[in-house]
Structures are given as C-alpha cells and as structure tokens.
Amino acid sequence: MLSYILRRTGLALVITVLAVSLLFVIIHMIPGDPVSTMLGPKASPELRAALEERMGLNEPLLIQIGLFFANMLRGDLGIDVFSNRQVTDIVLGQVPYTLTLILTSIGWSAIIGIALGCYSAANRNSFGDRLTGVLSVSMIAVPAFVVSLYSLLFFAVTLKWFPAIGAGEPGDFGDQLWHLVLPSLAIGLSWVGYIARLVRASMLEIMGEGHVRTARAFGLPERWITYRYALRLAILPTVTVIGVGMGFLLSAAVFTEIVFSRPGLGKLVIDSITTRNYPVVMGSVLFSTLIFVASTTLADIINALLDPRLRSAR
C-alpha cells in the first residue's frame, strides 16, 4: 500500500510540473501586456523597461518558467504588481474559502447522492426510483450559476432566510456556516443527481454479479449484502468521478463566488486576469492545479484502500 501511495504521489508531482508549465505558457499568450495595463499607453520607454525588469518579463519564456519553479520551491510566488504584497500571502488568504466551499458542496451532495442511488438500485423501477431518476436528470441539467442566481433571489432576497453576500464574520463559525448554505447548494445540486445516477448504475451492475448471488446463497441478510458487499465495490467509480470532478467544482466555484460576492480563488483569478496581474494569476492557477491534482491522487488512494486489486496493479 505504501509503495502505491509513493508511486501515485510521484506521478502527481510530475503532472503538477507539466500542468503548471503549460499554464504559464498559456497565460503569456493572452493578448495584452501587464506593463501597458499598469502604466497606461503613454508611459515612457524607461518606465516600461524598469517594470518589465522588475516582473522578469524581459527574460526568455523558458528562463521565466525555470525562475518561477525555483522561486516556488522557496515559497515565493512573486509580488503583486499593484499592491506590492507577496502573492503567496494573497492566494493563501483565499484558498481556505474556496476549499471550504468545494468540500461542503461535494460533501453534502455525495452523502445524499449515494443514499438516493442505493435507494433507487434497491427499489428498481419503483415509483421512488423513477421520481429520483427524473429529479436527478433535472438537477444535472441546471447549471450552478442559474441555481446561484435564483436561490439568491428567492432564499436571500425574498424570504431573507439566508445572507446574500460575503463569507460571514471571520472567527464566527456559525455565521460562516450560514453564509455557506446557498453557495454550496448551488454548486452541489447537480452533483446530487449525477452521483445518484452513477451509484444506481454501478449498484445494479454489482448486484447482478456472481459473488452477490453467492452471498445470498449463504443466507446473508440483504442489508448486509447491499452495504457491506456491494456498495464498497459500487462506490469505486463514484470516488474517481468526484476526484476528477474537483476541476468542475473549481470552475463552478468561480461563478458562485462572483454571484455571492464571496472571497475565494475564483474571484481572485477573474480579478487578476482582467488586470493582467500575471503573478497573482499564476499563483491562483498554481493552487487550483494543486487542489485538482491532490484530489485525483486522493481519489486513487481511497480506491486502492477499498479495492485490494488496485494496490497490486503496477
């Protein structure tokens, strides 16, 4: 198991380096340069050169990437072009908001989705199963930003049950939780449907397999067979999908953070891209990549814990 974890983590590091290099290149290909954005079109050549020097933009791209990684290892992601603050500080200040939002969203939707999926599989073709099916598909079809806008209008503006904007008072846990309800509802809703469908399909497949028939032939209780024998196998694809889904969750979080004016990585990326604030963009993108790579790696490790066959596979 340990060797599997080490192997998987090594792979994750390689992926991170490749992905970050690629993103670095892509960001530099965005039209418009930060120097004119900052100094305006009428700036003197000397002033421009000085700023380019300070941002490292006069070096070849490869050297810039190399420097970026070298500095990154020291925890230095550069200086915010506008505020002169450390990018690392700025980004780290936003990461917890996004992470909390994403984890809450996927958490509640996974619990409800898995429960609904099991129910549907156990009561196949019943009224409840069909209702769950219709609701699931509707939930999948509604984009997160639509749910954000309407839940904001309905629950926050009209009914005034939940706060409309912000992330709550720092230090006040209850208040922060209260502010988390609508955004995580918006992001998680489509996942409920998605996970429910996925779990139902794999449960039905597993329940038809030979080992379930064996368990029945030994008179094991049906609940035992469902939750101990079948669910453990049926959950494997769902874990993988959630791991990969972190990417989609991050992009859903961008919209939601903007609609609810929540601080977070998404809002930071949008703000810094519009101002060509390269160091901040790179910093936020780096952390998004890290979150994504970490979640897929974690998903693989969880699967290996659940399924011994994966551990021994090379």
Binding site: G210, T214, F218
Partner: protein, 335 residues
C-alpha cells in the same frame, strides 16, 4: 422412496415471462434425492438445469413464476416458506457451489472475512470462527490455511477458489449440497482432483449432493443416480449404471454417443445431435424430442409420452418404452 428423501421435487413447472410470451422453462419436473446420495443432472445448455436449482434454493430471476408443483425438503414444501425462513435454510441446510470460481467471491474482502461472515448466525468468537474457516480450508487441500485467510480472492487460482467455494459450502455441514457445474471452468487435471475431494468430503459429512454437469464422465464417476433433462423436462432417470449402460431414451443414447470419452476410433468429425431445442414459448404437442429424434414413431407427434418404469430404479418418458410400441425398435434404442 417414501420419507427418506432429502429432496423431493414433484411436478414442478416454472416459466419466465418474456416479451414474446411465457417461456416454459420447466414442465412437470419430478426428481428425488435420497439421503447420502449423489444425484447428477445432465442435459445440454438451456434444458432447465439452472432453473431447477434456482427454484430449489429460491433465488430465481424476477421474471420467473412457479406455476405448480412442490419442492419438498425433508417433507416440507420450500415453495410455502417465507423469505425469512428460506434465508435461514440457505448455507446451513442447503448450500451451493457455483459454476464460475472467478466470480464466486467478493473481490474486495479477504477470504477469511467472507468465511467468517457466512458463520454470522453462530454465537462464536471471531477467532473460533476463523479457526473453523482455516480447518475447512485445510480439509479441501489448501496448504498454509491460516495465512491464506488473509488473502484476497484475486490472489488464488481458479482451482483454489473452487476449493474455497466448496469449503464454504460444506462449513455448516449441510444436508444438501447443490453443485452447479463446479468443474466446467477448470482444466481436466483439476477437475479430477476436485471431484475426488468432493467425494471424500461427502463421505465424511454425509450430505446428499445434487450435481449438475454436462460432462458425462464426471457424472458416471461421481454419482449414484442420474437425471437426464431435455428442454425443460425430465426424459429419463435412474441409477448411473442403468442409464449409461442401457439408455432407454433416444436423447440419452445420442448424448452418450456424442461424449468424446466414448469415442474409440479416430475421427475428424465429432458426432452431434442434429437440430436444436424447440421454442419453449410455444411448446409443440407430442414428445418434446420428436424433431431431433432419429427413431420417431407416428404417435410421438400427437401424444406426450408418460413416465414409465423400465425397471425398479430406472424410468423413461418415451413411446419406444411403451409395451405397445414396436419391440425391435425398443431393443435397438437400449443397445
């Protein structure tokens, strides 16, 4: 054969509802298994062997319906049992070994865990249950049983897994073991080993075995009695000796002719039975085997042959056996 039978299936009819109509998978099937007897069922694919055993253990497909008949296990009708009562029986009084050992065990739980789980009704400590599991594994010939309990199914070969399946099935010392083609997925040397082991264990535990196979050699080796099924009906049954040496039904005779073990001369073409199983949604009148029978007489098309005794332990459903039928035909059929 009065009440000494472990299992007594009487006039069992089962059908599956399909989009084309009811598929009559079993029609008036009767058979019995005496105490400490090994009874084999032979027949080609689709003859209803699997339907019969899933009806006995009552783990049938959702679209299956039992129309009539009784399945008496120690003289109580299993078809009247509630699901809860049936579950109490499974794995304890009646247990099963399935065809494909690669699919029999849960892939993500250790063999030890699964062998402990099936003892869930016993009020024993976990280490006692583990001990018992290890003893069973040694009994079926798995060396180093204690250590192997910690392994997962994928770490065992097919033959090993089938031994484990047998160990699990016999752990509770059942009265009846149903073995559904337990050696079909294994190679020939393993087949012999498994059959030998099964024979020894049956002796030791004193259970009855219902053994499904289409390998006639295995049936002849292992079983006391044999039931020949064709297209959802029993066509012949009797002691292995009688049925194999003097088959009274043309189908049995043809089956024996097709068995590679019986072929002495070099040949490029293995014999087959021409034709195929009739459509069981629309069962034709008369004898079920008439289309493929090489020895058909006029009444085969109109009248269904009744089960009649050839001798005390041997009976057959064929007009040729009827005393009114042509006597020379009859002799030829049995030769």
């Amino acid at each position: 054969m009065p009440d000494t039978n472990v299992l007594d299936v009487k006039n069992l009819s089962v059908s599956y509802s399909t989009p084309r109509g009811d598929l009559k998978a079993l029609r008036n099937v009767s058979m019995a298994i005496g105490q400490k007897k090994i009874v084999g069922i032979v027949g080609e694919s689709g003859c209803g062997k699997s339907t019969l055993i899933s009806a006995i253990i009552r783990l049938m497909a959702n679209n299956a319906t039992v129309h009539s008949g009784e399945i008496l296990f120690h003289n109580s009708n299993l078809l009247d049992f509630k699901e809860r009562e049936m579950r109490a029986l499974r794995g304890i009084d009646i247990s099963m070994v399935f065809q494909d050992p690669m699919q029999t065990h849960n892939p993500v739980l250790t063999i030890g865990q699964q062998m402990i789980d099936i003892q869930y009704r016993d009020k024993l400590s976990k280490s006692k249950k583990r001990q018992r599991a290890a003893e069973m594994l040694s009994l079926v010939g798995i060396p180093d049983a204690q250590a192997r309990l910690n392994q997962y199914p994928y770490e065992f070969s097919g033959g090993m897994r089938q031994r484990i399946a047998i160990a699990m099935a016999l752990m509770a010392k059942p009265d009846l073991l149903i073995a559904d083609e337990p050696t079909t997925a294994l190679d020939a040397t393993l087949e012999v080993q498994i059959i030998k082991r099964l024979e020894e264990l049956q002796e030791e535990i004193g259970c009855s075995i219902l053994f499904i196979s289409h390998h006639l050699g295995v049936i002849a080796e292992l079983c006391d009695e044999v039931v020949v099924m064709y297209a959802g009906e029993v066509v012949e049954q009797g002691s292995v000796r009688d049925v194999f040496h003097s088959p009274a039904h043309p189908y049995t005779a043809a089956l024996l002719k097709c068995d590679p073990g019986h072929i002495k001369e070099k040949t490029r073409n293995l014999p087959t039975i021409p034709g195929e199983i009739p459509d069981l949604v629309d069962v034709p009148a008369g004898c079920i085997f008439q289309d493929r029978c090489s020895r058909k007489v006029p009444q085969c098309q109109v009248k269904r042959p009744l089960f009649e005794a050839v001798n005390e332990q041997h009976s057959v459903a064929c007009h040729l056996n009827n005393k009114n039928a042509d006597d020379s035909d009859h002799k030829e059929a049995r030769g």
